[in-house]
């Protein structure tokens, strides 16, 4: 496994399988998050396709609808009707009602069919339709999510160097969180499994908390010029604080991604959004407000917009918009198929 942990700092999101990457690899957390997000989105795609097939089969107006679509067709989920695409393939309106998911087919005359209950039995996978609806909601927010992901990947590239080869006792909680979660995967008893997952999340959030406090007090040390008391050793003192700040930031970043990934895998999207929102507020409070000071103290920074700290400060996660959209808890989705329709 050592060769995976090797020199290459580049993030290669396609080639890596989080299962073969060691949690001690600095790239672990970002792969964990991107993989769980893409897994959920492809799950949502599969749901969309099954729902589409079931509804078309059951609906009486099915004859008007193209019955098959070629490979490469794209399912599009929207949360508002107004954004709906051309509906020559038929569009399905999904409504969450009293814990149930109901579907209506919209025909080319703009008429809705009678409501069809989406039942678990349709899918012989034992998937709860409400869970399905949640996954569809995530898919409807795909673009926002990708924007957040891009920003995170950018921060990530700036922390990898710091994290390479670090064996710091302050990050013990990060590893323990990851290991607890991995352990939970092998446990069949659902109560025990959930308890372990809860412990994993707790370890990661405690770790984040501790390191945030450390980082804030290190920054305060610099803003208040306390290094001036260390006569003859000012530079050394500043650099050791900066080293500590960089490490703390790196692990806060890692622990945040891991926590978001766990929530994502557990279908807790609002909790995931909360974690990301908390992270963007942390960046706002500690990094944005102190970016110039930090760049003046960081030997690897020149303080420009391209510099390490200013570029971190310029990141806009927009996690609060994502969270708001999730919180709106839309009861309606519009499902349609785009592209590669059969033309004869």
């Amino acid at each position: 496994m050592d060769d995976i942990i090797s020199k290459n700092n580049e993030i290669d999101l396609v080639d890596f399988d989080v299962e073969v990457l060691s949690p001690r690899d600095p790239r672990y957390a970002i792969h964990f998050l991107t993989k769980s997000l893409s897994d959920k989105l492809s799950e949502a795609d599969a749901f969309a396709e099954s729902i589409y097939n079931v509804v078309i089969k059951e609906a009486s107006t099915a004859s008007q609808i193209a019955q098959s679509f070629e490979k490469g067709s794209r399912f599009v989920v929207d949360m508002t009707e107004s954004t709906k695409k051309a509906i020559d393939n038929g569009q399905i309106k999904l409504v969450k009602e009293h814990g149930k998911l109901r579907a209506q087919l919209l025909d080319s005359n703009g008429h809705y069919s009678t409501k069809l209950d989406i039942k678990e039995e349709f899918f012989n996978k034992g998937i709860n339709p409400v869970e399905m609806a949640n996954a569809l909601q995530l898919k409807a927010l795909q673009e926002q999510l990708q924007g957040i992901e891009e920003q995170i990947v950018m921060i990530n590239s700036s922390v990898l160097d710091v994290l390479q080869g670090q064996q710091n006792d302050r990050i013990a909680l990060f590893y323990s969180g990851i290991n607890l979660y991995l352990e939970a995967q092998s446990i069949k008893n659902p109560e025990m499994k959930n308890a372990l997952i809860a412990q994993a999340v707790r370890a990661l959030s405690d770790g984040t908390q501790q390191l945030s406090i450390t980082m804030e007090s290190d920054i305060e040390f610099l803003t208040t010029g306390q290094y001036n008391k260390h006569r003859g050793k000012k530079l050394e003192t500043i650099h050791s604080k900066m080293d500590s700040i960089n490490k703390a930031f790196g692990f806060i970043h890692q622990a945040t991604l891991a926590r978001a990934a766990i929530y994502c895998e557990q279908n807790e999207y609002l909790a995931m959004a909360n974690v990301l929102d908390e992270y963007s507020r942390f960046i706002e409070n500690t990094v944005v407000n102190n970016a110039n000071l930090l760049s003046q103290c960081d030997p690897s920074d020149n303080g420009t917009d391209q510099g390490l700290w200013q570029s971190r400060a310029n990141l806009k996660l927009n996690a609060s918009d994502f969270k708001k959209a999730l919180l709106s808890n839309s009861q309606e989705y519009y499902l349609s198929v785009e592209g590669n329709k059969n033309e004869n």
């Binding site: 610099l222 006569r231 500043i238 003046q296 103290c297 020149n302 420009t304």
Partner: protein
Amino acid sequence: MRIKAKKGCTNPECVMCKKKVHAHKEDSFCPRCGSNLSFVCEKCHTVLENGDTKLCITCQAKKDDADERRKKAFGKAIGPVAAGVSAVVAVVVKKK
């Protein structure tokens, strides 16, 4: 607060930035590339948020450390001499 900092171009593509050339105090834009000028550290060209210092924190600390070392070294070298001088003075005083 009195402005002490030099101004400079911070466009990484620009020669004025690459060569860390200081701009005129009265200028607001880089004469080469037209970018907005920023306050920069006189020594290393790191961007300074406000112009009330000449040096960035790192360069100031380096300078302070060097001054401290020089002071100590000077102190060691000058110490015995100074003691000698005061001894001489003391002798002179006594003679009077």
